[in-house]
């Protein structure tokens, strides 16, 4: 399936881009993160991240659909 990935903060720096299109057989965010973490050498463990799908927070085992926009969110630090 085709997904659009968004990167922020330390993950953006490490991935070297703010967004990218990926083709993947991963069915949920957990499997997808494992794939892209290996490819971009991301070192933040999934337990430290939150997931968003199509602009809303989502669970790691959410079933993804073709065309979904997924973001893995590092710990926030606004304010």
């Amino acid at each position: 399936m085709n997904y659009r990935l968004l990167y922020f903060a330390s993950l953006r720096d490490r991935a070297g881009c703010a967004a990218e299109a990926v083709e993947s057989d991963a069915a949920d965010p957990r499997a997808l993160y494992a794939q892209i973490a290996a490819r971009h050498r991301l070192e933040l463990a999934p337990e430290k991240l939150r997931v968003a799908v199509n602009g809303e927070f989502a669970a790691w085992d959410r079933v993804l659909a073709d065309g979904d926009e997924i973001a893995f969110l590092p710990p926030v630090s606004g304010g």
Partner: protein, 144 residues
């Protein structure tokens, strides 16, 4: 206009305070978060905020709606800067109006605490030694 906003230009706290004006409000409490020149023993020269706008706006609105439901207030507003900021700049502004001061103080505190913990905005500090780093909510550096 939405009660939670992201701003790429300086925040005008006085103008925001006027948006809260109400004949039935007896209290207005505001909080200003400023860019500080140090963090955890390191000299900070400037910082940059990055946001996930769609989700930040949605989560910010949720926090303000939850606050209005939980405290006896009239109105709550919050504006958070994104982009490059200098020492002393206003990074975040929260304002709450209420009939009485107790609810206004408590709600204002609640809003800034929840914003810092939940809204997808990230702070990158640039240090005097030339390095920079993304921070966790508690101000400690992200390992990566």
């Amino acid at each position: 206009m939405s009660a939670f906003r992201l701003a790429e230009i300086p925040i005008d706290g006085a103008a925001l305070g006027r948006e809260l004006a109400s004949a039935s409000a007896g209290a207005c409490v505001s909080f200003e978060g400023w860019v500080r020149n140090h963090n955890q023993g390191k000299a900070v020269q400037r910082l940059a905020y990055q946001a996930y706008p769609a989700l930040a706006l949605a989560e910010g609105e949720r926090i303000l709606a939850e606050t209005a439901a939980r405290f006896a207030i009239e109105q709550a507003l919050c504006v958070h800067r994104v982009g490059d900021l200098a020492i002393g700049d206003l990074a975040v502004w929260v304002g709450v109006s209420a009939a009485h001061r107790d609810a206004a103080f408590a709600a204002c505190r609640h809003v800034i605490d929840e914003i810092k913990a939940r809204v997808p905005i990230w702070k990158n500090e640039f240090y005097a030694d030339g390095f920079s780093g993304w921070l966790h909510p508690d101000g400690s550096p992200v390992a990566e």
